[in-house]
């Protein structure tokens, strides 16, 4: 597909990498030619220098032949204007815009057609929703839901005390006394799609999948679930903090926010009157101590500075907080951060990209395409949800007779309304829902891609 990406910032770059890797024709527009230079050197893309909202620039990027415009410039107004100009130049074009200003994000999402948008992506809100989910289900590092929330993949850290440590994967189900499956292991920065004889080690991070009931039973047996969270401490008062606090307060949780700037504190106290707003510098440990951060059930470090977030999270872990969430803006930092005791890591950029990639993959393939795609383990692994239809090959053949591609795993099958962790006798029947876990390097775009033959 022909795709224009406007704005070559953090989000734009990640999208460029992902989408050009999937073989789309990408044109990148940015005002700064030196930023574009690095993109054109690293990815197989075309670049145009200029203001993306200008019709002239869009014409130079061949808007009339474009299928999708993704506006990821810094300001909402530019993005909206860009999508409007794109629509007027080519009425058939699909437009995706990043919208972040809380003041009008709601009405834009409601009146998408009026603004000429096919999809509005709110980075900060998506991140807040993700964090909210983590807080609702404490103890796991990451949660992804499939099949309308009936199946989940959760990320867990394995340490020496864990009953799973030094055990082969075949014994996991009997230890946890529930039907779950380890679909991916992240070890020393490398993602492994494991076989049954794989033995877990201290320091591994594992991705466990199963129907939601089986999974929560397993997590309870494991002792990961630590009771309900009632008090949340948020460091930093930016947009993510606002969305998160807003959701938490609505669910009746106690929220404390620490923010440095006086004016922002006043603003926050007006829009979230239920929250306790503290004006203070989070980099000053005495502020955190005097607010008794250690006594909270959960701490979320959400300032704009990655380094500060990391330090605050380490400090919170040290104080004995069980559930820590760290926001990371630049995913280059993630490799370093993974080894630190910072709890769950949420990268807004990554979330936004997976939403867009999901949308584009859905557009691209029509039938046979994944219903949804989630990225696990820093995007090294993908979990995709498929519906079995008439075009699927090897229907009703037991799995043990089918040869699957390397690094591909059938994680879960919904057959006649029942969720099963597949074994050699399982098979795919019409209208089944199947979750496939595979390495991103050889992505599964259509269901038939999983077969080796």
């Amino acid at each position: 597909m022909n795709i224009i990406i406007t704005g070559n910032g953090k989000v734009g770059k990640t999208l460029t990498r992902q989408l050009s890797g999937e073989g789309h024709n990408i044109t990148v527009i940015d005002k700064d030619s030196s930023v574009l230079e690095s993109s054109i050197e690293n990815y197989d893309v075309l670049t145009v220098t200029g203001n993306c909202a200008s019709r002239k620039v869009l014409d130079a990027a061949e808007i009339e032949k474009t299928d999708v415009v993704i506006a990821t410039a810094a300001t909402d107004e530019t993005n909206l204007l860009c999508c409007l100009s794109a629509r007027s130049a080519n009425p058939d074009v699909k437009t995706i815009a990043r919208i972040r200003t809380p003041d009008y994000v709601d009405n834009i999402e409601r009146d998408r057609d009026l603004y000429g948008l096919s999809l509005a992506i709110n980075l900060e809100k998506n991140a807040a929703i993700e964090m909210d989910r983590l807080i609702k289900f404490p103890g796991v590092l990451k949660r992804e839901t499939f099949i309308r929330g009936r199946v989940e993949i959760v990320e867990l850290a394995i340490n020496e005390d864990s009953p799973l440590c030094d055990e082969p994967l075949t014994k996991i189900s009997s230890i946890l006394r529930s039907q779950v499956l380890v679909c991916c292991v992240l070890r020393d920065g490398e993602a492994i799609i494991p076989g049954g004889s794989f033995v877990l080690r201290h320091g591994d991070r594992i991705f466990v999948t199963g129907a939601i009931e089986a999974l929560s039973k397993g997590l309870r047996t494991l002792g990961v679930v630590t009771g309900k969270i009632k008090k949340v401490f948020i460091v930093g008062g930016g947009r993510v903090s606002f969305y998160l606090a807003h959701r938490l307060v609505r669910n009746g949780l106690d929220v404390t926010i620490v923010e440095k700037k006086r004016e922002r504190c006043e603003e926050l106290s007006q829009i979230i009157p239920e929250a306790c707003i503290i004006c203070g510098d989070a980099s000053d440990m005495t502020v955190l101590e005097s607010e008794r951060m250690g006594s909270f059930d959960a701490v979320a470090s959400l300032t704009g500075i990655d380094e500060l977030n990391i330090i605050t999270s380490i400090f919170a872990t040290k104080l004995g907080v069980k559930n820590v969430i760290t926001k990371i803006g630049r995913d280059e930092n993630r490799k370093v951060v993974d080894s630190l005791p910072v709890g769950s890591i949420v990268c807004p950029k990554e979330l936004c990209c997976s939403a867009i990639v999901r949308y584009i993959r859905g557009m691209q393939a029509g039938s046979g395409a994944a219903d949804s795609v989630h990225f696990l383990a820093e995007g090294l692994v993908e979990a995709s949800e498929f519906t079995i239809d008439e075009t699927t090959r090897h229907r009703d053949t037991p799995l043990r007779k089918i040869k699957l591609k390397k690094n591909t795993l059938v994680a879960c099958v919904r057959h006649n309304g029942k969720f099963v962790v597949p074994d050699g006798d399982s098979c795919f029947s019409l209208n089944d829902k199947v979750i496939i876990v595979s390495k991103s390097s050889d992505a599964v775009l259509g269901f038939n891609d999983i077969f080796a033959d």
């Binding site: 890797g21 024709n25 050197e41 690293n42």
Partner: protein, 490 residues
Amino acid sequence: MNYKAVLRINAQVILIETVLMTVPLIICMADGDSPGFRGFAAAMIIGFVLSGAALWLTRKAKNNIGARDGFFAVGLAWTLMSLLGALPLFVSNSIPSYVDAFFEIVSGFTTTGASIIPGEEIASLSRGILYWRSFTHWLGGMGMLVLLLAVIPQSGRNGGFSLHILRAESPGPSVGKLVPKMRQTAMILYFCYFALTFLDTIFLVASPELSLFDALCLAYGTAGTGGFGLNGHSIGGYSPYVQNVCTVFMYLFGVNFTLYYYLLMRRVSYIFKDEELRMYLATITLSITVIMINLWRNGIFSTFGERLRHAAFQVASVMTTTGYTTTDFNEWPSLSKGIMVCLMFMGACAGSTGGGIKIMRVLLLGKTIRRNTHSLLHPREVKAIRYNGGVVDERVIENVQSYMAIYVAILIFSFILISMDGRFSVLSNATAVISALNNIGPGLEQVGPSGNFAGYSVFSKLVLCFDMLAGRLEIFPMLVFFSRSTWKKV
């Protein structure tokens, strides 16, 4: 430096070259030309063995290459493919000395067209060898690595690396892609190139005096703006019709190929607005007019038509750096000769198959000079240089200036090194270097249209080979060889 990736690219280039040698091999077989057959068979066996071994050795190479790797890969590839391409000429004993054979093939690939074979002996070469000589022009014109980019599928994720190769191989100060995908860009370029060559062949074969073989060889020479002929008279021995077809197609191959893409896309307004094309046409018209008047005043050629035909042909040949001739312009009055030498420097449009400095560079240089002199009067002036309606990046301007500086330096050094030979006149030496560095072919006096380069010493020939490669690859890929860090282990 990613040596493995560089080696892999080179192995792929050699493999493609080896495969393409099949055509002259078949011609030799059909003609019963056993020395030629032996030459091509030997070269192909060596090519297959070397490239196969290199491909196997580098099967795990990562393809993330930077600007330096791109330059190095292109410079090395052109040297290696010339070394291999010279083998058939040497083994078949068509050219007894390997250095001479190398010179001839470098001249072929770089689309120079300078020959060490005396005019009267060219016609006695076997058809397989003649075909290969001309075909190297065609390959060199658009570039072997661009062909590689079009033929070999790239893995999507690291596709950006290939831009460094396109930039290193394609002529012009600011090389970019036409469409987002590098492979498609390369395919479009080769499609235009192929289509124009096909058209040229059709027009040539329509003339009764040319066989399909002759027409193909002449078309290859025209398309690549090379200039190897099939006999000692270049194009002079053919009818005015053939000469005129060559003239028109030389001009066409001197145009930036991006414009042909625009033509295909029906974006005609881009073509009319192109400053380089306007300057190209203006220069052609002016040069032809002045030369015609000059020839008329000196009583050369009897009719207006003849003057126009020869002036247009010679201007096309020199400006697009083809090097075909219909008449010995060494006999022309000095004003005409002077214009010809100036046109040698200027060359064709950027992104064409022609050589020289390129009109786009001349234009940008002129604009820079105007701005710099203007800002002498207004020291605080801030002014962007515009080209084709857009602002030119300052880095491109810097690149053009440093290119010019190195260009002149190489010109002077080579001239001095060649002058050590002592057998040729100053003007011959000077025009030999100019002609090699600008990929034209003939110079003046002893290396003029009726002379050849055979008299130079081995050392001078190698210097000229370097100049030809430097001229075709626009210097930088060849300079990487002299950078110490290229050879350092990282």
